[in-house]
């Protein structure tokens, strides 16, 4: 009773913290009895002058404002993923959970993360401030596409600046889940190495070394052709006209390059940005393509032909990304822009039973 009384007296504050490659994004929402009072956003640039104490001091003001202040983190651990079962003896087939922490979702599937990584993320805020919730990006994806995952099989992707979260859901049940951290991909080749074991060598594209400046249309065509072949093999779509597809892709890439050339004349800066975007889009595309291939080939997963891909975009992909997927993977692409901070707030509210 007293708790309710004090909840009535104080605002509830939810602080979400998302660590990005170059920044730490802090989003704060305070509300009172389901009514939002204030929303704030601040970014801390992770340069040499950044110290955790700066973030801690910023948060302390809000912690002092209300005792009902909850801090939520998005799990950015490299070693995390989702498993299409919630039975412990079956889980071991997918991942060694000795040093992992996992949670079962609706007794159907589970998402796991590394215990040391969680500790490391919590330690960033120090003991005084602490953390109340750590959510998996898989749950963000599930929550964001809640209206879609109950349908037929589809690929669901969460694109962030530094990571890609890929899941396959069918009738609200997870069939496949992978988290790929782009920062560690260079050194660890975490996912690709794994995929290489089960996929053909032709599929191997070192996505980390891809730079649009270095793209040779002819070379890339070789790779894309092989991808087309693979998709055609996988999907047994006999009617797909490979030549037509190649021609389309060639035309498309030529167009892109022409556009880039034009923009180069106008502004070198814009051009560089565009190039970066396109590189990133292609990187995302490659990861999705490889991951889907892995899903099809792996015996561990109960796979089926995927027709639709739902993309939750937090990285700001371009139109080309959609075209890559549509043309190369023959999937229906649906892109929704996602604000992860707001999704974290929603999940936190669900946990607090405010909603």
């Amino acid at each position: 009773m007293f708790d309710k009384l004090f909840h009535f007296l104080y605002n509830t504050i939810i602080i979400t913290i998302i660590k990005k490659p170059q920044t730490i994004s802090v989003f704060i929402e305070s509300f009172h009895r389901k009514k939002t009072i204030q929303s704030l956003e601040k970014e801390f640039v992770l340069n040499d002058s950044f110290k955790p104490i700066l973030l801690q001091n910023y948060l302390k003001d809000f912690l002092n404002e209300s005792p009902y202040c909850y801090i939520t983190l998005l799990d950015t651990a490299v070693e995390q993923g989702a498993i299409p079962t919630c039975k412990k003896h079956e889980m071991e087939n997918f991942h060694n959970l000795l040093t992992s922490k996992y949670i079962c979702i609706e007794d159907k599937w589970a998402c796991y993360t590394s215990k040391p990584a969680i500790k490391e993320q919590i330690d960033l805020l120090g003991n005084d401030i602490g953390v109340d919730f750590v959510f998996s990006p898989f749950l963000i994806l599930k929550n964001f596409f809640q209206d879609k995952i109950s349908g037929s099989i589809a690929l669901y992707v969460l694109l962030q600046e530094n990571s890609v979260t890929i899941t396959v859901f069918e009738n609200s049940t997870l069939l496949f889940g992978e988290y790929i951290d782009l920062n560690t991909l260079v050194t660890e080749e975490l996912l690709l190495d794994h995929f290489h074991e089960e996929t053909t060598e032709e599929e191997n594209i070192d996505i980390n070394t891809i730079d649009l400046d270095d793209i040779d249309i002819e070379d890339d065509f070789g790779d894309i052709e092989s991808l087309d072949d693979e998709i055609a093999d996988l999907d047994t779509l006999d009617e797909i006209n490979d030549l037509e597809s190649e021609a389309n892709l060639e035309q498309q890439l030529e167009d892109n390059l022409e556009e880039l050339d034009q923009q180069e004349n106008d502004s070198n800066t814009n051009n560089e940005e565009k190039e970066e975007k396109l590189t990133m889009d292609f990187q995302f595309f490659s990861i999705i393509q490889k991951t889907l291939g892995y899903f099809y080939h792996s015996d561990k997963y109960k796979s089926d032909f995927v027709e639709n891909i739902y993309v939750a975009d937090n990285a700001g992909v371009t139109r080309e990304f959609k075209q890559y997927i549509e043309n190369e993977m023959f999937l229906n692409v649906y892109i929704r822009t996602i604000e992860i901070e707001l999704e974290l707030i929603t999940l936190t509210k669900k946990e607090l039973e405010v909603l």
Binding site: F2, D3, F6, L9, Y10, N64, P67, Y68, C69, Y70, T72, D75, K101, I103, I105, T113, I118, I122, G130, V131, D132, F133, V134, F135, S136, L139, L347, K350, E351, L352
Partner: protein, 175 residues
Amino acid sequence: MYSYIKPRKKTPLTKDVILIISFFSISFFMLFSTYGFLLYKDYRFKKDMQECSQKQKKLSASIENMEKSIKIIEEDANFAQKIYTTNGVLKDSIHNLFDLVPDHITLSKAQILKNGLILYGITPNKEVYEYMLEAPLKSIFTQTYTSFFQLENGWLRFVSTNYLDKNSEEYTDEN
């Protein structure tokens, strides 16, 4: 539960809240203590007032009784003084009276009235009485009446009635 960790328990009792609660608790405690003390004092005062009122009533009644007693005592004292004075006067009168009576005459009875004197006695003869007793009596009283009758031994029994005026017949026995 969708989170990898459980939220920490939130307590509304922050340092500020504890300070405020402490401040208000002490304030209210002092306020209610003072209020209670004043109530007690008020109760005690009313009770003392009632006691004083009762005491006052009792004392008033006592004073009244004492005043009555004083009055009675004063009256008694006055009466006693009066009696004492009267007795003194009477004693003097009787003393004077007996001084008046010569040795030859014997008084058998004397009645002292408020304004008169009746003497009974015997005298050897009428002359002795007239010269020795009647003369001083006449000098004192305004009216003097004497009657004699003869005894067997030749002496005379006399009754001398003396008044200062004619009105009163009241007298007191002095035998």
